[in-house]
């Protein structure tokens, strides 16, 4: 009798623990990340005007979406730039990061701890600081880059002000920022490859390039694919550096999706229209993430079947 009562209270306590331990996380997610999506969806059908701190809503149907898909030009320039940016920086980061990791993995390097520390630096310092630093380096008159060019007797370059090279400059900063991360991931991947498998496979190939192509790349492929997808999706988040380096300019040369949304919301106070932009962006990126995960799952399925 007594035992059943204790058992009953324990079971109740256990259930209570399940609920109480998950409730805070669930509430945060629901209120501050789930609800905002619905909120955006709702706002995107309204025109919102601010009058002395109070918002006036007027229902406009799909007008915001019509405007976005028919009249808008800056946002779509941003979409194009973001795609160029994502593909460009991730390709460079992967090639550079993988090559350096391969070199270090084969040859070893001096002072690994210090090297890792230095490579972690760009990853952990605030992105806005990286923007500030490169703005100072790429500054037109007093920047380090142009001082060096002048010292070498070469023509100065307007790194951030020339529409033809501004996007490349911003991409350079992002490559500088994230290549060390890719390098560290690739190095960790290479170091976890099975030495015995590698030695056995080396019997069948001749030369370094053959080894890389037929042994190391196939073995590393799962890590590479995950890193590429992860980096591409994260590069759609780019905002801080662009905000500080160029603010999307000159013209729309470095406009990115996130900056369009920021400008529409906070500089032009077009809450309804900005919400429509956010909804379309959220939808497109969610679709990409689902496709990417499908791709990963299929790869994994195919490997397991082999």
């Amino acid at each position: 009798m007594n035992a059943t009562i204790t058992h009953g209270t324990t079971a109740r306590r256990n259930r209570r623990w399940l609920v109480l331990s998950l409730a805070p996380v669930a509430v945060f997610f629901l209120v501050l990340s789930g609800f905002p999506v619905l909120n955006l969806l709702g706002l995107s059908f309204f025109n919102v005007e601010w009058h002395e701190g109070a918002a006036n809503f007027s229902y406009v149907g799909i007008e915001n979406y019509r405007r976005l898909f028919v009249e808008e030009t800056i946002y779509w320039a941003g979409v194009r730039n973001t795609l160029i940016f994502a593909v460009g920086v991730v390709t460079c980061q992967m090639v550079l990061g993988f090559s350096m990791a391969l070199a270090v993995n084969r040859a070893g390097s001096a002072g690994r701890t210090i090297l890792t520390g230095i490579f972690l630096l760009p990853i952990v310092i605030p992105p806005i600081v990286i923007g500030t630093m490169w703005r100072l380096v790429m500054g037109r008159e007093f920047g380090l880059a142009n001082s060096l060019l002048r010292a070498l007797g070469l023509q100065e370059v307007d790194w951030l002000g020339n529409p033809d090279i501004a996007l490349a400059s911003v991409m350079f900063v992002d490559i500088w920022h994230w290549t060390p991360f890719v390098f560290l991931l690739m190095l960790a991947g290479l170091e976890s490859l099975d030495e015995e498998v590698l030695d056995a496979a080396r019997m069948d190939v001749t030369g370094f390039w053959q080894e890389v192509r037929h042994i190391i790349l196939p073995l590393m492929m799962p890590t590479i694919v995950i890193t590429v997808l992860f980096r591409i999706i994260l590069s759609f988040k780019v905002f801080d550096e662009v905000y500080l380096l160029t603010s999307g300019g000159p013209g729309t040369a470095t406009e990115v999706i996130n900056f369009s949304i920021y400008r529409t919301f906070f500089r032009q106070d077009q809450v309804g229209y900005g919400s429509a932009m956010s909804v379309v962006t959220l939808f497109a990126i969610t679709l990409m993430i689902i496709l990417a995960r499908g791709l990963l799952a299929r790869r994994k399925g195919a490997e397991d079947a082999e």
Binding site: W17, F28, A55, N258, Y262
Partner: protein, 276 residues
């Protein structure tokens, strides 16, 4: 060692240390501006007299509130990190160690993964409208709670990886001894993941400290954090290069401390969301 091998070693070291120099040299150059007079920055003098005037201007002059901005960053960082760690640790124990209905696990972890990958900027406008509607825009409460939700997925994945690494036998034994779920958390799991909690705390604090987009949209002058303040230096008509560099130097201190004491946790932490 053959000559070829030595040559390979030298080349490999040359490349990676060359990249390391590409990280360190521009950083040092920018930071050195913090100790220069404006005239030396503008004329590009490499060797110049050292001055503390930029720091004095930045921290103690009447026009600058940077000391206050640093304080705000610390308040927001400490409180939001504490909340993330407490609720993420409890949830990670339950999700990683107890029997939870499949759809609950799937919903929470699936949403955490998706939310972490979606651009922050798509949410910022909605947060702004929501906090404005409840009259909390520009307060610590708004910034802190938004930082919590933003860093919660990372906290959850980190703590989940630490929880999953604990040996199962311990929990079986505790259950045999009649421990309830709560007792298992406090007596078995919590003491064992304390190290992991410290690592996660350091990382989450750095993320909160580094955040720009959320703080830019949700802070008022009274609650403005250091990154937002730094961005305003660059946008004034007369760019204050020296103070900008001094502010930059002060705001990377937490990151430098983290690299010195917790290097090995960082890569693991940063990858936690990617490998799931």
């Amino acid at each position: 060692m053959s000559g070829r091998r030595i040559a390979g070693r030298v080349a490999a070291n040359g490349v990676v240390w060359g990249y390391a120099a590409l990280i360190v040299l521009p950083t040092l150059w920018v930071l050195s501006n913090a100790f220069k007079y404006k005239i030396d920055i503008i004329t590009g003098a490499t060797i110049s007299p050292i001055t503390w005037s930029n720091f004095e201007q930045l921290l103690f002059s009447r026009q600058s509130h940077f000391l206050w901005n640093l304080f705000n960053s610390a308040v927001v960082g400490v409180i939001s990190t504490a909340i993330v760690i407490v609720i993420a640790t409890m949830a990670a124990f339950t999700l990683g160690r107890l029997r939870v209905p499949g759809w609950v696990r799937w919903l929470i972890l699936g949403w955490a993964l998706l939310f972490q990958m979606l651009p922050t900027l798509t949410f910022v406008g909605s947060w702004y409208v929501m906090w404005q509607a409840v009259g909390l825009h520009g307060t610590y409460v708004a910034v802190i709670l938004t930082h919590v939700v933003h860093n919660l997925p990372m906290g959850l994945f980190l703590m989940l990886s630490f929880m999953s690494a604990l040996p199962n036998e311990l929990f079986q034994a505790a259950r045999m001894d009649g421990c309830s779920n709560g007792q298992m958390f406090w007596r078995v799991a919590f003491p064992l993941v304390r190290g992991g909690m410290i690592a996660a705390t350091a990382l989450i604090f750095i993320f909160s400290w580094s955040d720009f987009a959320i703080s830019l949209a949700l802070t008022s002058p009274a609650t403005m954090t250091a990154p937002v303040a730094i961005s305003t230096f660059a946008q004034e008509y007369d760019i204050r290069y020296g103070e900008m560099a001094a502010g930059t130097l002060l705001s990377i201190v937490p990151a430098l401390v983290l690299i010195l004491v917790g290097q090995r946790f960082i890569v693991r932490g940063l990858l936690a969301g990617a490998v799931k």
